[in-house]
């Protein structure tokens, strides 16, 4: 196990973590601020990817596709909020789960109907193709570095928005005591709509950024949704900071586990046993981590205040 390999794997872990953060941020805001369980968050990620592919087909420019897809993802999020979610805020969590699960089924089928079942792809923007040499013979794709960079930028932007602006203050206040904020003359409904639209746009952004790496196909949001829930549970529901730390933690644990579990186990057991146990253990690691965190801190690493 060389140092360069370790460095590369840490970068890989960061990239997965940043992606998870982009999805989990919206999920944790909606869950924390509006007390609304949105299982359909994963299909909004999928939709971002599909919209990017569609707009790229029309405009032939990645930047234009990015902008248009973001706008469309935002618009679609607002539409969903107005058409479906708004009517469910006061209801039980079980109603949220059933309704948003219905939206998953509907959108997965709709996407297949419109774009077909075959996986689609979005090319990496011309200027950002290729890879940089981190060490002789060890190349790292530029696009993955771009994902890490843009994810960190979004994290910084979110931090400023939530803790340094009036809007952010209202969001935090609304999360703690919505009735009081409403009594002070703030339109809490509009605030919720904005938060929801923004969350949907973040999920869409994650989908757009990952589309050049992963195949764009129906159901692509379903697996990532589970990871995003693990992230917000570990981080503390409603906490952006918690989502950030937990996302990076999950990304690193998952990637390093996958890369080195077999090698580490080989120190204790025969090679063939390690090969059987290693992959199984690696895929359990994040759930073990979640169990440990919940045992030590039942409300997550950074529980949002007032909950």
């Amino acid at each position: 196990m060389s140092t360069t390999l370790l460095v590369v794997q840490v970068l890989n872990g960061l990239q997965l973590g940043v992606l998870l953060f982009l999805i989990a941020a919206g999920l944790t805001l909606v869950f924390g601020v509006m007390d609304f369980i949105n299982l359909a968050h994963g299909v909004q990620y999928m939709l971002g990817a599909y919209l990017a592919v569609a707009f790229y087909g029309l405009t032939d420019s990645f930047v234009l596709a990015l902008v248009l897809a973001l706008a469309a993802a935002l618009a679609f999020g607002l539409l969903l909020e107005a058409a479906v979610f708004r009517h469910l805020y006061g209801r039980d969590h079980l109603d949220h789960v059933i309704a948003t699960f219905g939206i998953i089924l509907f959108l997965n089928a709709a996407v297949k109907y419109v774009w077909g079942a075959a996986p689609l792809s979005l090319p990496v923007p011309e200027a950002l193709t290729g890879s940089v040499a981190l060490a002789p013979g060890i190349l790292y794709p530029v696009w993955r570095l771009v994902i890490i960079g843009s994810g960190l930028a979004v994290a910084a932007l979110l931090w400023v928005l939530v803790s340094r602006t009036r809007m952010g203050m209202l969001v935090r206040a609304g999360a703690t005591n919505p009735e009081m904020v409403s009594a002070l003359g703030v339109d809490i409904r509009r605030l919720f709509t904005l938060v929801f639209g923004f969350g949907a746009m973040l999920a869409g952004f994650a989908g757009i950024m990952i589309a050049p790496i992963l195949s764009v196909e129906p159901g692509m949001g379903d697996t990532i949704l589970i990871l995003a829930f693990v992230v917000i549970v570990i981080g503390g529901i409603g906490s952006i900071r918690g989502a950030f730390v937990a996302a990076l933690l999950i990304g690193l644990v998952d990637t390093l586990g996958r890369s080195f579990a077999v090698d580490v186990l080989r120190l204790f057991m025969s090679s063939s046993t390690a090969r059987t146990v290693g992959p199984a253990l690696a895929s359990m690691l994040i759930y073990l981590l979640m169990a440990v965190v919940l045992y030590v801190r039942p409300t997550g690493l950074f529980p949002a205040k007032g909950r």
């Binding site: 590369v8 996986p119 890879s131 060890i138 790496i213």
Partner: protein, 393 residues
């Protein structure tokens, strides 16, 4: 009096019609149930099977062996319990003579018993597991594809023959994945630098790609079907590895995944029993007709389904359309007296094919579409090794 006339007429009509119906009995429509995965991401594969089979029926004028055909299509949803229910309905309610399907091996394991116990003949146009080639071989099961291991063995044999010394091999962590790497190692005798099992349906291969780059093998072998392959190939290219380390593969680059992989897959190798550019007249006609009808290049799934229809046609011609005498029907099927799109084809004693296998390579056609093309023949008239434990003669 006026009332009895219509009544008499009706009685007379029934009397006239009844024997006519009895005569028609032998010529009634031949019912075939097609079961394939038509929903979820692997729907593309099931669609190829359905399309290939229906194209063949159309090319044969809507008749197989001279009998009108009614093709019933069902989706197994890639769930064994659903598949069993649909196959039972084919056999018990629809009384089909043939069940054609499925795509996936785990579905095959589930439907062989309900289909064959129910009196139908099951023809698999894709899945070919080792147990049915060996100890569980079944006189009412015919396979028009291959025994699964053979597709993986092609890469191992070719890597060995071309003098490769080191390999990095990777597959999903389930039975078919383990079988695949075992198939590769059956022929490859060089050093295996690492053998990696990834979770089924893993999307991001960054960690594994970094390991490959660090291990610097002479050849990489992967079995990453469907969406896994699409992701792996794109990321392998993006990591800058595609120009330095050749990839041999099974079910990772084919015509069902190439529309998504495109240029990223150029130069990737695969093992196959067929390719769209296989040079014989019947195959050329098939590929042209398929592309005209469905606007996509056919993959192995489609051609094997087409061959399945040809096989049924040939057997019914031999029995003059009769399906009642099952012994005669089975014997006729076993003769495989049809011109396969792949050329050489005959049945072994276990009802699995003996055929040629090729190394193929992804190429871009002048019209901008992508397909696999034959590089060289790796196995000639190759039979699977499991036939030894099959008791059928």
């Amino acid at each position: 009096m006026t009332r009895t006339i219509p009544l008499l007429a009706a009685v007379a009509a029934v009397a006239l019609v009844a024997p006519a119906q009895a005569q028609d009995k032998a010529q009634e429509k031949l019912k075939i149930g097609v079961i394939a995965t038509l929903s979820g991401p692997p729907a593309v594969l099931g669609q190829q099977i359905r399309n290939g089979f229906q194209l063949a029926v159309r090319d044969l004028g809507g008749k197989l062996g001279g009998r009108e055909v009614e093709v019933l299509v069902q989706d197994d949803e890639l769930k064994p319990d659903i598949a069993v229910g649909k196959v039972k309905a084919f056999v018990e309610r629809d009384k089909v003579d043939f069940v054609v399907g499925p795509v996936f091996s785990n579905i095959l394991q589930a439907i062989v018993k309900p289909a064959t116990d129910g009196g139908a003949i099951l023809i698999s146009p894709n899945a070919g597991t080792s147990n049915y080639a060996g100890r569980d071989c079944n006189p009412n099961l015919f396979v028009t594809s291959y025994q699964n291991d053979q597709m993986h063995e092609i890469s191992g044999k070719h890597a060995q023959d071309s003098g490769k010394k080191t390999a990095f091999i990777m597959a999903p962590n389930y039975q078919a994945g383990k079988d695949s790497l075992a198939g590769f190692k059956r022929w490859f005798k060089g050093e295996i630098l690492d053998e990696v099992y990834v979770p089924l349906n893993q999307l991001d291969y960054s960690a594994e790609l970094s390991k490959i780059a660090a291990a610097k093998p002479e050849v990489v072998f992967v079995f990453l079907p469907g969406g896994m392959g699409v992701n792996f190939v794109k990321q392998y290219r993006q990591a800058g590895l595609a120009d330095t380390i050749p990839v041999f593969s099974t079910f990772t680059v084919d015509e069902s995944t190439l529309p998504a992989q495109q240029d990223a897959a150029l130069g990737f190798f695969a093992g196959s029993n067929w390719a769209p550019n296989l040079d014989n007249p019947q195959n050329k006609a098939f590929v042209a007709a398929y592309e005209a009808a469905f606007g996509a290049v056919p993959a192995t799934y489609a051609f094997q389904a087409y061959d399945t229809a040809l096989l049924i046609d040939s057997a019914l011609k031999a029995t003059k359309g009769d399906t009642k005498d099952r012994d005669a029907l089975r014997a006729a099927l076993k003769k495989a007296d049809f011109v396969s799109l792949r050329g050489d084809f005959r049945y072994n004693t276990n009802n699995y094919p003996v055929q040629d296998f090729y190394l193929t390579k992804v190429a871009k056609r002048p019209d901008g579409k992508y397909q696999t093309e034959i590089v060289e023949k790796v196995f000639d008239d190759y039979a699977d090794p499991y036939v030894k434990s099959c008791k059928m003669k």
